[in-house]
Amino acid sequence: MFWDWNYVWEIMPQLLRASVVTIEATLLGFLLAAVLGLVLAILRMSKTSWISVPTAAVVEFIRSTPVLIQIFFIYFVFPEFGIVLPAMVAGVIALGLHYGAYCSEVYRAGLENVPRGQWEASTALNLSPYITFRDIIIPQAIPPIVPALGNYLVALFKETPLLSAIAVLELMQTAKILGSQSFRYIEPITLVGAFFLVMSLVAAALIRQVETWLNRSLRNPGGDR
Amino acid sequence: MTTPMVKFDNVTKRYGALTVLDSLNLEIAPNEKVAIIGPSGSGKTTVLRMLMTLERINDGVIYVDGEPLTHMHKNGELVPADEKHLRRVRGNIGMVFQHFNLFPHMTALKNCMEAPVHVLGLSKKEAEERAAELLDMVGLADKKNHYPNQLSGGQQQRVAIARALAMRPKVMLFDEVTSALDPELVGEVLNVIRKLGKEHNLTMLMVTHQMGFAKEFADRVCFFYGGKIAEQGTPEEIFNNPKEERTRQFLSAVLEAG
């Protein structure tokens, strides 16, 4: 017998509790990433090169190196300065930092992809820079930004199992502990996989919905025609 | 009467609820040059695309050289053609497109050799000789090693003509072949088509907006309107003495713009 349903029901409550931790880590990490990404994007788009160039370098550095090492780095380095972070906090900071670098590129692309002509037309209409940004640029930048951020939310969600490496009791770690106790890995690890698959597919469908809705309501406010 | 080279027998083409071609009947004799004119949306390009099997037809049968193209005989009945049959009969037809559709990753010469080698099974040497000869015929002997992006629109279109001819088709289809060209490049392409008409035994079917060329070159002009042939006849009849009000309106609108 490869698959034992009794064992599945036995471990289900523990896995469900662990999935709450996974979702918490995802949401907190993404909140940090979204805010940090915006800050990095603004710094990188700065006209002052001593701000924009180092920011670009930092973003590239974070994006080109493994998030697992970044997790270790933050988890092990802070104690050297006397700050002992709980594993969960260190993990959330590392994920937020890594995906913040990705998110900053999303914001930047979204803002820069609004055609120059839009700024020029606004100048020709004598709109102030603030009004131009609020009424002309942002509404056009949001439809491409939101689904792209959504994709990174899903990507971050799928990276949370890495927190098991610093012993955060999220889904993967729980599954591994269960597996090592019973020497049955099939059920816990397969269930974790199924959980991620279902959540990702649901999230992908939601993102598509939001994308369609945004395109309709922000790009042509007249709605369906 | 000889077998028509191309025959549309009650052919209908629909896109969803929209009927683009409505029970088309058209016979084209061997070596005949037919120009198709008409306003956009009249279904004229669809005629060529159906004959090239780029569009499936919804009703009727298309024959090429006496043989059904869209259908085949099976147990004494006409059934929709399979891929093998399509490929055999389609070998009689060549097509030149509005946007050239040259293969951008191949030189002019390679563009003309690709299908002869891999479809007809010619040796590289034979194919190269044939391609070089055709490129010479269209006046591009010195450009044979150029890639499409190194050629002007008119030169690209002439390569496309050579590429189609390399397959030795009996019927050539020209789909608005000068519409994407700058005005000063139109002449060189039309000259090649004129030369083809004189020197080769080819049945030609062209959709065109060049009324002057249609008048001078075609044996017959078909005016399409609303998915049907509204009027057809010799160039003199159509251009100098149109019977239908719609033909008159179309021609005067085109001449005014031109």
Binding site: S64, F73, P161, M172, Y185, T190, F196 | F103, P148
Partner: protein, 240 residues
């Protein structure tokens, strides 16, 4: 020009990493780190090769295959994109032995990462093939080419160039994901770093050096892909 400066960057970073390492009194660890880097590079190369093969096969099966193949390809793509790379790695490592399949950890690592990135790559291939203008297919029909000949000789070569930059990104994702193999007992760069960290507690220095080494490898990948793009684009056109 940019290529050369990037190459120089990569070399400078790598030697800087080694220099910092020796200054910080880690000379005895350099052989270990380099051994780890070698394993990381091996897994990256193996994974990339598998990923490209899987991506091509899955994309073509999804687009042109008969329905059983198409569904298999869709299932592969969705499952490997929808679950996390670490879950896949652990599944292959912990679960396969239950079915009597015992693989070397290195094989498991290459298989898991290659399959994971291959699923993303399949969408890259599909997108690039779909982006080849319709007219290219039509010209192939007009020249009476069968579909697989048109795909092989006309469509894929054109899609290939469009695929290079996104593949560059995927290869870097794969390199980053190799860090996960340290969790299944393979002594790659990350594993060595962890090991040294536990024995010396010089966390900042060790992890900084290792991050710089990863950065250097990823810059090398970028350089390689740019060079490939230049070579592939030679003579190739924008025109249709």
């Amino acid at each position: 020009m940019q290529l050369r400066s990037l190459t120089i960057c990569a070399i400078v970073f790598f030697t800087a990493g080694l220099a910092v390492a020796s200054f910080a009194g880690f000379r005895e660890f350099i052989p270990g780190l380099l051994q780890g880097a070698l394993i990381t590079i091996q897994i990256t190369i193996g994974g990339c090769i598998l990923a490209v093969i899987m991506a091509l096969v899955a994309a073509i099966a999804k687009m042109y295959g008969p329905w059983p193949l198409r569904w298999l390809a869709i299932a592969y793509i969705e499952v490997f994109r929808g679950t996390s790379a670490l879950v896949q790695l652990f599944w292959l490592f912990f679960v396969l032995p239950h079915f009597g399949i015992l693989l070397e950890p290195l094989t498991v690592a290459i298989a898991a990462l290659g399959l994971n990135v291959g699923a993303y790559g399949a969408e890259v291939v599909r997108g690039a093939v779909a982006a080849v203008p319709r007219g290219q297919w039509e010209a192939s029909v007009a020249l009476n080419m069968p579909r697989n000949l048109a795909l092989r000789r006309i469509i894929l070569p054109q899609a290939f160039i469009a695929m290079i930059p996104p593949w560059g990104n995927l290869f870097i994702e794969l390199l980053k994901a190799t860090a996960l193999v340290s969790l299944i007992t393979i002594s790659d760069l990350t594993f060595k770093a962890q090991q040294m960290n536990q024995t010396t507690f010089r966390t900042v220095e060790i992890f900084t050096i290792v991050l710089i080494m990863y950065l250097a490898i990823s810059i090398l990948i970028t350089v390689g892909m740019r060079a490939l793009e230049t070579v592939a684009a030679r003579g190739m056109a924008r025109g249709r």
